[in-house]
């Protein structure tokens, strides 16, 4: 995931190659992504090469000369390489070896009661009202609360995290320079906050949470430094908060507008794991990442010169008709679904199993409590596709359960 921006000739920030197509539609971006996936050697008007076809993407990411950074540009307001997103090769593998075991399906399954409880507590606040704006009342706070619990931080710090992730994912500013400056300022505040937390935690007895684990774990026989732990937490905060929030908003918006499919899921919640995978393919809430090419390479006959920065479009690969029959259709019974909604290659999403669990349980609980709902008549769902795709305004109306 990256929130870097480029400026178009008009000066407006341009986020993604698909935004420049006539077929672009904020509500339904899938057609534009299919157009890119089927284009020959797509590139942006500024010359940046774009990888969009499903097969090319897999082979490109597998190439050892394809790297996460050039060692100068880091993701998401980071002043140092984010661990592990901005690292490559053996260094990257060492940290993934430390972090991957914390986020396996078995590990995250322990969080199920906490996820259900927090979801229900948030729904309690609006269940009797008959209407709600789900971004503010559920999708935004849920992953952030859960993440704070996971790290072992006080729930009263929720606003600090909500403000930070908003500033980094959707940076404010009229120009790219202003946006980058605001993003870095927010990043600096988060570094300071995490440094303060660590100092406090080192003075306390060890606790059984992620920070407690980082303080006692060893990598090649050595404890992690404060800087390493801060850099890991920074990445987890930014990767763990907005992505699940955005995904949940996209999925709940989709169910609001597809009552037949919603009733099918209400009648049989057992199919939710499959449903979540298909909707992650279709919505692709994290649409793209960037990679750097360190030497001249050729992938399926296409040249990528040394030093080029490449836009890798997970959302386009997920809408490629050569990989997915009828990609514009949501099909819960898709026989196999090799989607890259959680990215692919060595930097594939570290927290995907936690994200899946949160999405599945939040949707299951929401549909159990509120099986019938619709976008509030006269109002509308508002999507953003800048940075991450999300239903940033999701007003819904529903019958209030009696008794």
């Amino acid at each position: 995931m990256s929130a870097e921006t480029e400026s178009s000739a008009s000066g407006a920030p341009v986020f993604c190659a698909a935004h420049m197509l006539d077929s672009w539609d904020e509500r339904h971006p899938q057609a534009a992504f299919t157009e890119l996936a089927t284009a020959d050697a797509p590139a942006r008007p500024d010359g940046m090469l774009v990888v969009a076809a499903r097969q090319e993407l897999t082979e490109f990411l597998r190439h050892p000369a394809v790297r996460a950074t050039d060692g100068v540009h880091f993701n998401l307001g980071g002043k140092r390489p984010l661990i592990p997103l901005d690292l490559d090769g053996d260094t990257h593998r060492r940290y993934r070896g430390l972090l991957d075991p914390l986020f396996t399906p078995k590990q995250v399954a322990r969080l199920e009661p906490a996820i259900r409880a927090r979801t229900n507590a948030l729904i309690d606040a609006f269940a009797d009202a008959g209407s709600a704006e789900l971004m503010a009342s559920l999708c935004g706070p849920l992953p952030t609360y859960l993440f704070i619990e996971l790290l072992g931080l006080p729930a009263t710090d929720l606003p600090i995290f909500l403000e930070f992730k908003e500033a980094v994912v959707r940076p404010v500013g009229a120009t790219e320079e202003e946006q980058q400056a605001n993003m870095r300022a927010a990043g600096d505040r988060m570094y300071d906050y995490l440094t303060g937390v660590l100092a406090q935690r080192r003075a306390e007895p060890p606790r059984d949470d992620l920070i407690g684990g980082f303080l006692t774990t060893e990598l090649d026989g050595e404890r992690l430094t404060d800087q390493e732990i801060v850099d890991i937490c920074y990445l987890l905060v930014i990767a763990g908060l907005d992505t699940v929030t955005s995904s949940l908003s996209c999925l709940l918006a989709w169910f609001a507008e597809h009552p037949d499919e919603r009733r099918q899921v209400v009648a049989d919640p057992g199919q939710l794991p499959r449903v979540v995978e298909e909707l992650m393919r279709f919505e692709s809430p994290v649409p793209l990442g960037h990679r750097w090419v360190t030497e001249d390479i050729e992938i399926r006959g296409r040249r990528f010169p040394a030093g080029s920065k490449v836009e890798v479009l997970w959302a386009a690969a997920n809408a490629d008709p050569s990989a997915f029959d009828d990609p514009q259709t949501v099909d819960f019974a898709r026989p196999h679904n090799a989607h890259v909604g959680f990215a692919a290659g060595p930097h594939r999403c570290l927290g995907s199993n936690l994200a899946r669990l949160e999405l599945r349980l939040a949707i299951e609980e929401f549909l159990r409590r509120i099986p019938d709902y619709e976008i509030t008549p006269g109002d509308q769902v508002v999507y953003t596709n800048y940075g991450v795709r999300a239903a940033i305004r999701l007003p819904v109306t529903f019958p209030v359960a009696r008794g």
Partner: protein
């Protein structure tokens, strides 16, 4: 029928273990490994589905589907 996971390609998407839990499990790092080799009778379709559904093309089934189809026909 044999099924293998190329550990140098597996990135832990975990889709194989989700869709074919009788054939694949995940190790402590969340990477897939085969738990039923050779593939037991009745799980052939699941093996080919897992192969086609792996985002990293890390799963290989022998014989390949085309040959198996010819063998069946």
């Amino acid at each position: 029928m044999r099924v293998t996971v190329d550990q140098s390609r597996c990135q832990g998407h975990a889709l194989c273990a989700m869709h074919a839990p009788d054939l694949f499990d995940l190790n402590d790092e969340g990477h897939s490994f085969v738990i039923a080799d050779p593939v037991p009778a009745g799980l052939g379709d699941a093996a080919y589905t897992a192969e086609a559904g792996c985002p990293e093309e890390a799963i290989t089934v022998e014989p390949p589907l085309a040959h198996a189809g010819q063998a069946r026909s």
